[in-house]
Symmetry: none
Subunit: 196 residues, 2 copies
């Protein structure tokens, strides 16, 4: 049973600690007091209920990191759109980057849970991107699927450099969704197609 302190709630709501205590005293937010001097604790579940009831945003660190955003990095717009279509219909949120610069900034801005990466993009080595993602703390655990028309050894190398999966072009849509679903299971209630 995860509980939160007033200080944690204050930070998450960007509000003064004093105010959180008043919410609890007033009964707006359900909580309980520890024996000592009466330090407050709020059950995670009650806090989430409180947020929802008042239409307040749920802090990212609480949303169970259940983020299902996917970033598609591919310089061929048609390919990128195609991948996007497939993944969206499978229930994921997608964003498309058509060059390395957009790729990098969307990666940091949106912190997607998964990235599909074209190995060969003009002016940029996919391996470099891979290494960058793996060595940057914010993205070190982001799933990466390398999609490429290169030969098998190249794909093998991508796996060695940290890709979670590879897919050779051209690929089957079903292959893609299977791979993604494997790496990034959708939270219940978001599935567009029955899976069991």
């Amino acid at each position: 049973m995860k509980t939160l302190t007033t200080g944690e709630i204050a930070k998450m709501c960007d509000v003064n600690l004093r105010t959180v205590i008043r919410w609890i005293d007033r009964g707006d937010l359900k909580g309980f007091k520890l024996p000592g001097r009466g330090n407050n604790r709020v059950q995670l579940e009650d806090f989430l209920h409180f947020l929802q009831q008042h239409g307040m945003p749920i802090p990212p660190e609480l949303s169970g990191e259940e983020n299902s955003r996917i970033l598609i990095i591919d310089d061929e717009a048609a390919v990128a759109r195609s991948i996007g279509r497939v993944l969206r219909s499978a229930g994921y949120d997608t964003a498309i980057a058509n060059d390395g610069f957009q790729g990098g900034s969307l990666l940091m801005k949106q912190q997607p849970a998964l990235v599909t990466l074209d190995l060969r993009m003009p002016g940029i080595s996919g391996y470099d991107v891979l290494k960058f993602i793996r060595t940057t703390p914010e993205t070190a655990t982001t799933k990466v699927i390398v999609i490429s028309a290169l030969d098998q050894p190249s794909l093998q190398r991508a796996l060695e450099e940290g890709a979670d999966a590879v897919l050779s072009k051209p690929f089957d849509n079903q292959q893609l969704t299977d791979l993604v679903k494997d790496l990034l299971p959708l939270p219940a209630g978001r599935r567009s197609t029955p899976t069991e």
Copy 2:
């Protein structure tokens, strides 16, 4: 998750507090209410989106709390290091990106106050980067100095597309520091060389 109060927004937009509340009530500006009496809060991101959507200027105090970080985007490592050395000795914090991907991610991650941008990088058009920076709310007010060996019309076009200044290669170190100091005055006590 940074949030703003109606009062803060009112000041930034130079508008009456009452009006901000009406924007929120009317749905023009997305916000939420605290439990108490319904005090309004607006998430920073939503506010930026609102500003951009209505073509309103972004208040300076929102564009990155007065930092003196500079991001150098140049695929020629030697040039980048050289620029870095000059600017560091002038008292700035610098970071170097050697390709577009690093450029984009460092831009979002560090939110530098100024970017030096090479127009011609392999596989990426500097103009695209410029446009991207200008149309992304988080970076719309970031200063950009375009550094390029291209001809005058190309530099002129960069200015038209939103660059704050241009510098043709090869350039003089003094020129560079002058430009940067002009666009990004260092906070007092950080100057490495007396300026008056």
